[in-house]
């Protein structure tokens, strides 16, 4: 089954195409402020390089984040509206899962980490590697590095952009040693994880697909705190 995967949560436009277990394309286009401008071109270029037209794509995988809120919205909107418009099934894939998948050869336990973009705060999760794929253990984590060091042991390998930096910070805070693997978001990883469900006839409802932010906007936090203290 030919599946297109996209992820725009991490300051790159990651676009990949798989056909079953074969990776036909896996490209990463730098995109700080021009993610929206480029994304459709990036998809078109990647498909053409793989010798494909959009009509041959049988399913779409969409990276849901977390990461850059603006970035995530580009990919999720494009992914779901492409699926709706072209009549293809779509699957949302958490970006942390895709990062863990990309790092699955490094260890049995992977801790993907994504910067929140403010101070030392991160989004993270814990994944076990099983049957050449990954399964999440427990809830996602959003918070500072200190808090993360209480949740994971040195058996977990950190994975993501700047994973080495986070490993060093974790070591400083906890005294435990951590291994790290620099991993970029991968469209092919997103496509492969989507394929796991698509190949069993399972998919998400395109119109209701929304980002996985894992963090409220500051205004909402403020208003919630304010109304709670008023009560």
């Amino acid at each position: 089954m030919i599946v297109l995967g996209i992820d725009t949560s991490g300051y790159v436009n990651a676009v990949g195409v798989v056909d079953g277990s074969r990776v036909l394309a896996d490209r990463s286009f730098p995109a700080k402020t021009d993610s929206l401008e480029q994304i459709v071109d990036n998809i078109d270029t990647t498909l053409k390089r793989a010798g494909l037209a959009l009509g041959q794509v049988e399913g779409i995988g969409v990276g849901l984040g977390p990461g850059s809120w603006t970035g995530i919205r580009v990919g999720v909107t494009v992914g779901k509206m492409l699926a709706f418009s072209a009549g293809k099934p779509v699957c949302g894939v958490p970006t942390l899962a895709a990062l863990a998948y990309s790092a699955r050869h490094a260890a049995n336990l992977i801790c993907p980490v994504i910067s929140v973009g403010v101070g030392d705060a991160v989004y993270a999760g814990l994944y076990r590697v099983v049957n050449d794929t990954v399964e999440r253990i427990g809830d996602y984590y959003t918070g500072d590095i200190e808090g993360l060091s209480e949740l994971i042991t040195g058996r977990a390998v950190l994975a993501g952009i700047q994973a080495q930096k986070y490993a060093r910070k974790l070591e400083q805070r906890s005294g435990k040693k951590f291994k790290a693997l620099e991993v970029l978001p991968s469209g092919a990883a997103v496509a492969t994880l989507a394929l796991e469900r698509l190949s069993h006839g399972r998919s998400d409802d395109a119109l209701s697909l929304t980002p996985l932010y894992l963090k409220e906007s500051t205004a909402k936090v403020f208003v919630n705190k304010y109304s709670a203290s008023k009560k």
């Binding site: 021009d34 929206l36 401008e37 480029q38 994304i39 459709v40 071109d41 998809i43 078109d44 959009l54 809120w69 603006t70 919205r73 580009v74 999720v76 909107t77 494009v78 779901k80 509206m81 492409l82 709706f84 418009s85 072209a86 395109a206 119109l207 209701s208 697909l209 929304t210 980002p211 932010y213 906007s217 500051t218 205004a219 909402k220 208003v223």
Partner: protein
């Protein structure tokens, strides 16, 4: 030609189907009223999140209501200029995806040009040239419109737009957001002559506007009354404040029409729904032999039908956008 219009520049998520630039087959709009009331205004991040949730549903609703499918759509028009950047991006991302997957022509539209076309949609018989006052929470401009998509900017607000002044004063008086409709309703029970608020720049030679001084005058008077322990006739304050805004908008627009030698005025944008503004314009224009047009109420506030109509006009004159279409939140209105 059937055009799918998409509009997400501020807090309304909208999609519409318009045939041949004038026949509105459907106009679906989802407002964020619950969020506006909760936060006292538009919070860009929250608005953008809501657009992402709704955009697919709104497009589907526009199609279903018109009893059409994407197979029938021949072009896509989307607001890409003027508005909140994160919000604009959602509409443009959706529009590009549909355009790419179906090989449809795509056109990015300036939000204010959409409002200009809202009136042309409502009144296809409106002649050119005419003078157009476009006024809402986010913009306040006076234009000389010599033809479809041909504008000369005569003036604009130097600070607050009239709609913004309505919102700020309403908020200050403890009334709901958005302020325009609330003040419109309240004013009907009030005396517009009770308080003499300034009419800023009403006599100035330029066609620019300024409303922040008027807002300050209302706030100061209100505070002084409070300090003296006087009771506050909200309806009178609302009516007098509204009358000041109306006086300025009407006077400057009518003078522009006279000086530009046109006998037609178009009043558009969210504030054009205001009942006192419509009444005052009708009276003033009647005395001067000028015809004044207002959009249908459903087309005054943000909607996608006006975007489809504006996009159609641009496409008919040979313009189109490509798949690298980007958003420009502060783009000036294209003048041609």
């Amino acid at each position: 030609m059937l055009v799918l219009g998409i509009e997400t520049s501020c807090d309304e998520t909208a999609a519409a189907l318009v045939a041949d630039g004038r026949n509105v087959l459907s106009s679906a709009i989802s407002t964020q009223l619950d969020l506006l009331k909760k936060y006292g205004g538009v919070v860009p991040e929250i608005a953008a999140r809501r657009h992402t949730e709704l955009i697919g549903y709104v497009i589907k609703e526009a199609l279903d209501t018109a009893d059409k499918t994407l197979d029938d759509v021949e072009a896509v028009a989307v607001t890409s200029r003027q508005g909140l950047v994160g919000c604009l991006m959602v509409g443009v991302a959706a529009a590009k995806s549909i355009s790419y997957s179906r090989g449809l022509p795509l056109i990015g539209v300036h939000h204010i040009e959409g409002h200009i076309f809202a009136n042309l949609l409502s009144h296809p018989e409106m002649p050119f040239p005419h003078v157009c006052l476009t006024v809402s929470g986010g913009h306040n401009m006076l234009l000389y419109v010599s033809g479809p998509c041909r504008y000369e900017v005569l003036g604009a607000t130097l600070d607050d737009a009239a709609g913004e002044a309505f919102d700020k004063v309403a908020k200050f008086l403890g009334l709901d957001f958005p302020g325009g409709p609330v003040i419109d309703r309240l004013s009907k029970q009030g005396n517009p002559g009770a308080f003499k608020f300034p009419r800023p720049m009403i006599g100035s030679r330029t066609y620019d506007f300024s409303f922040s001084g008027l807002k300050t005058a209302v706030v100061n008077m209100f505070r002084d009354s409070l300090a003296r322990g006087e009771s506050l006739p909200l309806a009178d304050i609302a009516a007098s404040f509204q009358e000041a805004i109306v006086d300025v908008l009407v006077a400057k627009t009518v003078r522009a029409a006279q000086e530009k030698n046109v006998t037609t005025i178009s009043v558009t944008g969210g504030v054009s729904a205001n009942s006192r503004l419509r009444q005052a314009f009708t009276e003033a224009c009647g005395k001067q032999g000028i015809k004044v047009f207002f959009p249908k109420l459903s087309l005054c506030t943000d909607n996608a039908a006006m975007i489809a109509a504006a996009g159609y006009a641009r496409m008919m004159s040979g313009e189109k956008s490509d798949l690298r279409l980007n958003v420009f939140p502060n783009a000036p209105l294209g003048l041609s």
